[in-house]
Every structure is written in C-alpha cells, then in structure tokens.
Symmetry: C2
Subunit: 201 residues, 2 copies
C-alpha cells in the first residue's frame, strides 16, 4: 500500500519530467496529478531530487532484469556486452527527454555526484559479473576483475563523450546515438580480445 503510493508518485513524476522537463515541473503539479496533498507527497519524497533518484533507481532495476536475462541466454562474453550496449541504447532512447532535462540542472551538487557514483558502481558490478563468468568458463584470462571492470566502464563512458572528436560533451544529440553505440561495440570487441585466452594455446 505504502509502496503502491510511492510507485504512483514516481510514475507521475516520470510522466511530468519527460513531457515538460524537470525544471518546469513543480512538486504541486505532481501531487495534483495523482490527487495527493502536497504534504503527503513530501512525506514520501523530501524534494524533486529525491524523485529523480527514485526514477534513476527504477530505471536501473528495470534494465537489470534485461541484463540478467542476457546473462542467462548468452554464454559468450563479447556477445553479452554487445547485448548490454543494445539494452543501453534502448533505455537511452526511451528516456531521452529525461536525460536532456537532467543536463539542464546544475550538475555539481554533492547529491548528483553521489548518485553518479552509485550508477557507475552499479554498471561496474554488472560488468564484473560478466567478466567473472568469462574467467570461470575459461574464455578470459585471469585478471583483477574489479579494476578491469572499472576501466571498461570508464572507457565506454568516456568514448561516448568523444564521438565527434571535438570538445567533449555529454550525450545530447540523439542522431549520434547509433554512432556512439557502434563505436562502443567496436571498443568492446578489442577490449575483450585483449583479455581473452588465446585460442591456440
């Protein structure tokens, strides 16, 4: 019941944020949308940022389900990473308006940094799982999984910012998305080849 209300609020906030932008959406409007008192809304979420966090976690949970499925279905490490990039692309397209709106906000707050760290950590954990499985299956050489996953995620994220070879920028141009994902796939192939056990050994 309590969770139900919480989910209703998140859904309403997501709708508002996606259509009108985060900056232009007020907490009152979200409350009105689901016929909730403003006080009641604040009981669940102390401010707009708490709502953004909740949405971010929900999107991560959602994509984790898709990734878990890929892990079950695809034994090969590179194919799993390629599938992950496709899932990422799907989510970037689905929540594109939201991502653009996030960029309009001040990105230097402590809470932003904390959330970004958590998102990075979560991606790293997924990559670690994939790498560990690859080592167990004797497909990859043994290496420090934690630092290698960290490197992989940082490389992939950084690549997205340098796709047009000029001044780095966060992902804004939807038309670039295909190109970015394509390059990330290319990079993933070279990376995995670099930590793969030699087939001739």
């Amino acid at each position: 019941m309590l969770d139900d209300k919480r989910n209703q609020i998140i859904a309403a906030a997501l709708r508002r944020f996606s259509h009108f932008g985060i900056v232009k959406t007020s907490m009152s409007e979200i409350a009105e949308d689901i016929k909730l008192s403003k006080a009641n809304l604040y009981y669940y979420f102390q401010d707009k940022f708490a709502l953004i966090e909740a949405i971010a976690y929900q999107i991560m949970d959602e994509s984790d389900v898709a990734i878990k499925q890929a892990l079950d279905e695809i034994p090969n490490t590179l194919d799993t990473l390629v599938r992950m990039l496709d899932i990422k692309k799907e989510y970037l397209e689905k929540y594109y308006m939201l991502i653009i709106n996030l960029q309009e906000m001040n990105m230097n707050e402590e809470r932003w940094i904390a959330l970004s760290k958590k998102m990075f950590q979560r991606e790293m954990d997924t990559i670690s799982k994939i790498f560990e499985r690859g080592i167990k299956r004797n497909e990859l050489v043994t290496f420090d999984v934690s630092s290698t996953s960290e490197l992989y995620v940082a490389l992939m994220r950084g690549l997205a910012m340098f796709c047009d070879h000029t001044i780095p920028h966060a992902l804004v141009d939807r038309d670039e998305l295909d190109k970015i994902i394509e390059k990330q796939k290319q990079a993933a192939a070279i990376f995995i080849n670099g930590i793969k056990k030699s087939t001739n050994s």
Copy 2:
C-alpha cells in the same frame, strides 16, 4: 627575421599566459614585454586566440620531436604507446598552468572546436604511424588503421575524464595526473593485446 619576431611574440605570450592567465593578459602587455608596437603585434596575430593557436601548434611540434625519437628507439608497439603517454604527462605538467587557464575561457566557440579537431587529428596521425609500423613488423593483425587510431585516441581522452568515476570533467586536478596516465597505460596494454597477432600462431 619575420619568423624570429613571430617566435618572440609566441614566447612572450606563453610566459604571460602561464604566469598571469590568458584572461588577465592583454595584447598590449605582450607587445610591451618585447618592445613591439601594438599595431605590429596585430600584424602578426589578429587576436589572443591566434596566439593560443600558435602556442598549441608549437607545443605539438615540440612533442612530435620526442615522439619521433621514441619511434626510432622503441620497436615494440605497446612500449611506444607507453612512452607516448609519458611524454604527454611531461607536457601536461610543463604546461599545466596554461591548460587550466584555457578551461576558464568559453569553450564553445567555432575556433575552439576547429583547434580541438586539429589536435585530435594530429594525435590520430601519430597513433596511425605507430599502428602501421606494428602491422608491417607483423606484431599487429591487419585492421583499418584510420578508424582504429580514432577509436584509440577517443578512448584515451575519454578515460582521462572519468578517472574519479563521478561526473566527467576536463583535466583539472594535477594530483590525478599520475592516476590518469596509469589507467591509460593499463587501457593501452589491453587495447594492443586485443589487436596483436597471437604469439602461438
């Protein structure tokens, strides 16, 4: 003679920019430093940005000499790339004040983008040379040198921006430099391993 004057101006500008910052340095001050009339200075450089460009080209030329030497001395591809990263570190340290000052300026101008593109292209050309040599020496597999060099440079640059795993930022913290170069070396090793001919074949 004409080049001499030009070089004097570049040297004076570099000194001023490094010590007082680009924003705080006026064209008049640079002219005064080398006892040149302001009109004469503008004959050589139409504005401050033209001076920044000239400095950027000079630094690139300077580091190209060091890279050429490395190419002559080091036959192995990965060792050459590691040496390149060390050279880069040296230059970043040497011109650190200048780089910080550049960040204070508006980075979205067309001329900035054009200069950034040229710098990217130049780095790509160097990496292409190293890769081509590696293929010729039968150390690397045959691949599309141009797109692979592009990918390598974009990966390395992007990695520098994600070193602390939070919100990406341009290189500002000098204390992070060692860590960034270390990670770039790690990434270079995996990348080269990924395009290396198998030793068992």
